[in-house]
Amino acid sequence: MAKIIVLTSGKGGVGKTTSAAAIAAGLALRGKRTVVIDFDVGLRNLDLIMGCERRVVFDFINVINGDAKLNQALIKDKRNDNLYIFPTSQTRDKDALKREGVERVLDELKDNFDYIVCDSPAGIEHGAITALYFADSAIIVTNPEVSSVRDSDRIIGILASKSRRAEHNLEPVDVHLLLTRYSLERVKKGEMLSVEDVNEILSIPLLGVIPESESVLKASNTGTPIVFDQESLAGRAYIDAVARFLGEQREMRFVTPERRSFFRALLGRA
């Protein structure tokens, strides 16, 4: 039985889709059969980030409406055999996300995958609620700034009250914080909230801190999930976050200034 993970934030533009792609690819790299679903109907982007936009024929809405079979719409990733992409429709809107239809599709996916990663649209309206409704776990994507933190707080409250687990009095959705676009320099200058500041307000377990990095933009534009870029700090941070999600202990990197050892400094290596 697959575990359903939703990436959500309330606020837009904080890195939900980038993170969904990276977490899904990270899980696949760990040998987990993973599918990542785009819930942002009408603003389809996940296929671009995953670099499969030219292979989209049928989509999530086609399958919900019974116009296509699941295996006609699922796109297998060319880089990793464990990874599948489930694109959404660009021509429809969020109203096409019928809860019963979504449930049926998720149930069918559950038998074939270990993890179902749901990329939520921004906001707290129907689309976002549908994306988080069936979640077992939630990864709250937050930028270190006040408006993003407040919106995250709101969405955590919604997970605790409007999700399927809340409505059926099951064990609550297990909620994690993923802090993205973190810049230690700007935190030091007081321009950005620190990890501690965010933690204090949201008080949920920290899954990872992703440093602000040019490689993320490059990865998006080339349609490569950032975890496939082993050189990039952000990619490594996502790999760590996935490991923590799977229950491993990893030291939190990029939150304290990098200490360069004397010898390494002498040798000129960073």
Partner: protein, 236 residues
């Protein structure tokens, strides 16, 4: 058998001072208050306090008052502190007269905490039902209202959350949202918190917004009480 026909019950009812009705600001503020918690105010009963006013000797004045309150979804049910002439006019308008000594909500407040703890086994049932304990963080956008009792939160209250109680509010954590104690007019209600970072605090309708909170009290453990119609903040 006749004894069963009439039963006694105790209610918490909002009291509006008659003089305020003619204040143009009152209606505006009332409208804002109602808009903030529409469910709480919907068809809520109101008693008009005539203390200190010589008006309201004509039935029409009461009917006007009823209309004003009705506009804000409130229902005028009676009066208190009336002079004989006012009493007749109110009766003509179909309003009940409430005993003047009941001006303040008379909730059983234990005078001595030690004593009430000792008496707890017997008194536990009614008291426990009235107060509410919240152990999870109160997230932005959440609204909690405890009718006729105290609210105890053992977690932070986020900015953008609103907690209200007819009685006291205790927050064992940072209070960053809005806290409204004495929501039905109990001027004795207090707010306690381990860290004051509130957007707004209010007791019986007297409020302070974040900007008005003394900077030196921010971030400290405080209790807030209403003293001579002014909110006073004291460090704990």
């Amino acid at each position: 058998m006749a004894g069963n026909l009439v039963q006694g019950a105790v209610f918490t009812v909002m009291v509006v001072r008659a003089g305020m009705l003619h204040d143009p600001v009152f209606e505006l503020e009332l409208a804002q208050q109602v808009q903030r918690s529409p469910r709480f105010f919907l068809n809520a009963p109101v008693v008009l306090d005539l203390k200190g006013t010589t008006e309201f000797t004509r039935e029409a004045e009461f009917l006007d008052a009823r209309d004003i309150l009705r506009r804000h979804t409130l229902t005028l049910i009676g009066i208190q502190n009336a002079q004989p002439a006012q009493l007749d006019a109110a009766a003509a308008a179909g309003l009940a007269s409430f005993a003047p000594n009941a001006t303040q909500p008379s909730r059983g407040r234990p005078a001595d905490p030690g004593l009430s703890a000792a008496a707890a086994p017997q008194a536990a049932t009614p008291t426990a039902a009235k107060s509410r304990l919240v152990t999870q963080p109160v997230r932005s956008g959440t609204q909690i209202y405890v009718r006729g009792g105290d609210l105890v939160v053992t977690a932070p209250v986020s900015a953008g959350a609103e907690i209200m109680a007819d009685g006291n509010i205790h927050v064992y954590g940072a209070l960053r949202g809005r806290a409204l104690a004495g929501a039905s007019g109990d001027v004795e209600a207090r707010i306690f918190c381990s860290r004051l970072e509130a957007e707004l605090v209010s007791i019986a309708g007297h409020y302070l917004v974040s900007d008005q909170l003394p900077p030196e009290q921010r971030g400290s453990a405080v209790q807030i009480a209403l003293v001579d119609d002014r909110l006073t903040i004291e460090r704990n």
